[in-house]
């Protein structure tokens, strides 16, 4: 057999520069239109400025929040960076716990029927309780303390990770198990050699959903259970009737959530390189 396979591997066509510019423009049309309509609506006086500040006013308030001098006279001025770090740290800590526990327990549940019998009922029961219902419990149990926020985030984002991982592990093709066995893999090593890699696409789906939930929960926790953070700023802005700051906080969370989701999907694209061309990843 002729054996020149070197050229045929990269069949995905790279977009040309004009195509990329055109795509970028298309992507900006809808957000741009929303901003324009919003600005015009406020400028024309169709809604009173007290119920909806203009985008320009939001940017202005945001600027003070980000870069203003730290002063006891304005609670928010210059605190954005600190609050951002606080929220990020909580999400990172909670999500790390959720990811480690969710993947570990999920693989075991998906692979060992006994583990499924042990955990499946409890997990499905707890999953049916909306995470916000745990807030009062967390505050009582942990007090107004970091651990309350980290608990809520870890606990809440654990479920999508564990459920997706278990489903992925359960669907490991039997033929791949057999292939590994006849190539010399002992029964105990199957979990690491076959089940875990076979479950990776499902694991990443779970991680993405879990991370999204982590951002929801950090805001809830910061509004109700801990001091500092973007959710805390959001709630303070509400109490001071600062709609401009509320919108600035919402946008901040949106940007962060989007960025962290991109990070996970980029990691997935790298780890799941072997799937390229098989799925829309």
């Amino acid at each position: 057999m002729a054996a020149d396979f070197s050229s045929a591997s990269a069949e995905v066509e790279r977009p040309t520069a004009p195509e990329r510019v055109a795509r970028l423009v298309r992507r900006l049309i809808v957000p741009g239109a929303v901003l324009a309509v919003w600005q015009v609506t406020v400028a024309a006086g169709w809604v009173p400025p007290a119920s909806l500040p203009s985008p320009a006013a939001v940017v202005e308030a945001w600027w003070v929040w980000v870069a203003g001098p730290v002063t006891p006279l304005a609670w928010y001025s210059g605190t954005w960076g600190l609050y951002l770090l606080m929220s990020l740290r909580r999400v990172a800590a909670g999500f790390a716990v959720a990811a480690a526990a969710g993947v570990g327990i999920g693989v075991l549940i998906g692979w060992y029927a006994a583990m499924e019998d042990l955990f499946d009922g409890v997990i499905n029961f707890l999953r049916a309780v909306p995470m916000t219902a745990w807030v009062p419990f967390a505050v009582f149990f942990f007090g107004i303390h970091e651990s309350a926020a980290v608990f809520l985030i870890a606990f809440g984002s654990f479920f999508p990770v564990v459920v997706n991982t278990a489903a992925g592990a359960r669907q490991t093709p039997r033929i791949l198990i057999r292939a590994a066995r006849m190539l010399g893999t002992g029964p105990r090593k199957l979990l690491v050699r076959v089940v875990l890699p076979a479950a990776l696409p499902a694991i990443f789906t779970g991680l993405r959903v879990g991370l999204g939930l982590a951002w929801v929960l950090v805001i809830v926790a910061e509004m109700l259970a801990v001091q500092g953070g973007l959710g805390y700023a959001l709630w303070s802005a509400y109490q001071f009737s600062r709609l401009d700051l509320i919108l600035a906080a919402i946008t901040s969370v949106g940007v962060l959530g989007l960025a962290s989701d991109r990070l996970v999907s980029a990691t997935a694209g790298r780890v799941l390189r072997w799937q390229r061309g098989l799925t829309g990843l």
Binding site: M1, D4, A180, L183, R193, L272, W274, R276
Partner: protein, 258 residues
């Protein structure tokens, strides 16, 4: 030439519960088969005759309900690298590149890396896959995947090759090429091969013996020694005599199930 028995199946019985039909299906009924070392045995029969069950039992994937299955006089307890299996569906690990798939066995068996690299290289050359090592299975053609699956077991230097309709999913030209290569590999390496097929031509082309099976219950209908010189010419009159005889046996097997 007196050769020692490598695989001995004695009075194997195996039945399943068929979920769709809600009844017990006897896949193997009192099946006895001995395969001497170095022999190429093809097994042919109508679908559902239990030929894959037979292979799965020799592979150690399934246990017989009763009967004995011995390799070198030792009962088979579980799958092992001494019995390499080539599946119709390839069953390559999709998350590993071609090279990593071939390296998998030596790594699992703890072969030192330098030695492993050498045998992997040699095996890739043997199946003409050099140049495609860094591609993932889904980037390979069907023929290349099946070569990779073959390389993945050959690299373990198994005593026995178990092939379960390995070429049923590839196009006719690729199939012919793969058949030639397998015949040549077998001649060079002297492996003992149990080869399941549903193609009479393939069975006669490759087998020292063609074992035909009946369906439900799965039994051996006939065991035909093929005394044609290799390489075999499928268009020769002698080849077609075998072909006709075996097709007749198969027709009888499906017409009058006992």
């Amino acid at each position: 030439m007196a050769r020692d028995t490598l695989i001995a199946c004695r009075r194997l019985c195996k039945s399943y519960h068929d979920i769709q039909q809600g009844e017990r299906v006897v896949a193997l009924d009192d099946l006895t088969l001995e395969i001497p070392r170095g022999e190429f045995v093809t097994v042919i029969g109508p679908s559902g005759c239990g030929k894959t069950t037979l292979l799965n039992i020799v592979a150690g994937f399934e246990r017989p309900d009763s009967g004995e299955i011995l390799v070198e006089n030792q009962p088979i307890q579980e799958p092992g690298a001494d019995r390499g299996v080539v599946f119709q569906e390839y069953a390559l690990f999709p998350w590993l590149t071609l090279r990593q798939n071939v390296e998998y066995g030596p790594r699992e068996r703890g072969v030192p890396p330098a030695e492993a690299r050498e045998i992997v290289e040699r095996t890739l050359r043997l199946v003409s896959l050099q140049g495609a090592e860094n591609r993932y299975p889904h980037e390979l053609s069907g023929g290349m995947r099946q070569r990779a699956a073959l390389a993945r077991v050959l690299v373990n230097d198994p005593k026995i090759l178990l092939m379960d309709e390995p070429f049923a999913a590839v196009d006719a030209q690729t199939r012919a090429a793969l058949q030639r290569e397998v015949a040549q590999l077998w001649a060079e390496t002297g492996k003992t091969v149990l080869f399941i097929t549903h193609s009479v031509e393939e069975a006669v082309l490759l087998g020292d013996r063609v074992v035909t099976m009946t369906t439900r219950p799965g039994r051996i209908k006939a065991d035909v020694a093929v005394s044609l010189t290799r390489p075999r010419d499928p268009t020769s009159p002698a080849f077609n005599d075998y072909r006709r005889a075996i097709e007749q046996l198969l027709m009888d097997a499906s017409a009058a199930p006992t």
